[in-house]
């Protein structure tokens, strides 16, 4: 299915909750209202024309200049061999997005990673805790304004620059 057809199909089903689409981009993507993402993903998985059995990738991108964090969902259909790319945007200082763990179990760890590194809370997630960083870490390292702490449990993070 072409990206245009996917966009039309989602728009027909979800109306205003499908905000816009970048159809001329290298990877055409469709922007969804955050509150509707779980429903849209469930439709993308179950609808016979879309049939996106797998959540291939879920990434968070910190757009500090816009004051928003964007979550990008790359869905893939093994039946139809097409990609569907969905994007949601949430404000940086109150980043809350509904979980899609109920649709694909692979979202469990991917959302934990986004929570850990970018500080986005996924409502409805069964086990939202840090994945890669230690559980007593403060801050979200992938954010653009993240400042490295001076030390961690007595281990200093500062060293002399190797460049002369």
């Amino acid at each position: 299915m072409t990206a245009n057809a996917v966009y039309e199909r989602l728009k027909a089903r979800f109306g205003e909750r499908v905000i816009s689409a970048q159809l001329e981009a290298k990877d055409p993507a469709i922007r969804i209202v955050p509150e509707a993402i779980a429903e849209v993903c469930a439709f993308a998985r179950d609808d016979s024309e879309l049939r996106c059995e797998a959540l291939s990738n879920q990434s968070g991108v910190d757009y500090k200049a816009d004051g928003e964090i964007e979550i990008v969902y790359h869905l893939y259909s093994y039946t139809h061999r097409h990609d569907v790319i969905l994007k949601v945007r949430t404000p940086r200082d109150a980043a809350v997005v509904p979980t899609v763990e109920g649709v694909w179990k692979s979202a469990n760890w991917m959302e934990r990673e986004i929570f850990d590194l970018l500080g986005v809370t996924f409502t409805g997630h069964s086990d939202l805790r840090r994945l890669l960083m230690p559980e007593d870490w403060v801050g979200h390292p992938l954010r653009k304004d993240f400042v490295e702490p001076e030390e961690y449990h007595g281990i200093s993070t500062r060293r002399e620059s190797l460049l002369r």
């Binding site: 981009a25 290298k26 990877d27 993507a29 059995e53 797998a54 959540l55 291939s56 990738n57 879920q58 990434s59 991108v61 910190d62 990008v72 790359h74 093994y78 061999r81 990609d83 790319i85 694909w104 179990k105 692979s106 469990n108 760890w109 991917m110 840090r130 994945l131 890669l132 960083m133 230690p134 559980e135 390292p141 992938l142």
Partner: protein
Amino acid sequence: MSLAGYEVAVEQVGPHGLETEEMTLNMGPQHPSTHGVLRFVVKADGEVMRQAIPDVGYLHRSIEKIAEKVGYHGFMPYTDRVDYVAAMFCNQGWASVAEKLGDITVPKRGEYCRVIAAELNRIASHLLSVGTMVLDIGAITPFFHAFREREKLNDLLEELCGSRLTYNYMRIGGVAWDLPPGYAEKVLAFLDRFEPMLAEYDDLISANKIYVERCAGVAIIGREDAFAYNLVGPNLRAAGVRYDVRRDEPYSVYPELEFDVPVGPGEHGVVGDSYARYAVRIREMTQSARILRQCFRQMPDGPVIAKVPRKFRPPAGDAQVRVESARGDMGWYAVSDGTEFPYRCKVRTGSFAAMAIIDKVSAGLMLADLVTVIASLDIVAPEVDR
């Protein structure tokens, strides 16, 4: 990771009036059978596990954040470390996504060099995977057979690009160097000697009764679970799904090459069990050898790298590229803001999802089976943590 919340009831009275206790054990992060620094908190009732909770992050090196600091060209050596066992694919993934962002076409000979390097690396990675799988299960001898072949491959790759493990061979726009003189003869001589070795390997271990009983029927992962948990590569093919990024979403020069995509045979066990995952990898090595022979026959002459500016500034936008790594489809997603530093780089690796499914399949297995499961899913710690 604290153990708060994992407290278990003690002093259970068993069926014969014996008092038993459910144990919470720690496996890792230093452990000879976990493939890298992986940690599991295992709740076991005797030998049978109730749950094996993975705890990852011991090898987290913030590679994705480093991409934002070192620039497109400078990031290439770091991509090797995303999966140091199959580093060529990581190089290819990063180069491909940068080329997609910047609309760069790689010359034909460069693409063939990439495929040759990648398929050699695939064989090396699979040899490590099956070698360590049989070693973890307890058969020591096949490990040495596998690594003896792998040594020769490391020598070939060293001749190609200078290093045995973390290659930094590919560049944005092509590859760094052309094949050295006489390389084709050396690789073909290796393949002539290697392919009968796979038959020897089969004789040694594949039908061994103990090995089959350890692997067959253990941790059966079916199609639906494989899709839901986003298993990829040999893990997905062992579940019966005949899907390979090289054939179904082709990239590079794979459309010109002929090869089969093996799926879980279901012999000695069930489709989707640990034995099937092992069998798929053995068969894939034969297919890689086939691809390599075709590449040397078909390679054209010409440049191996396109002209790419030193300050590479792709237009703003984002792109995703998938390459078929040894561990499955590796998704590289990059966002560009028009400067020479990537705004965001995200790698979604095959081992990440495989780690997540262990929690689900390990209920009811024995502790020794956990080792089989980790090895058969071919999990390497650098891919999980990056």
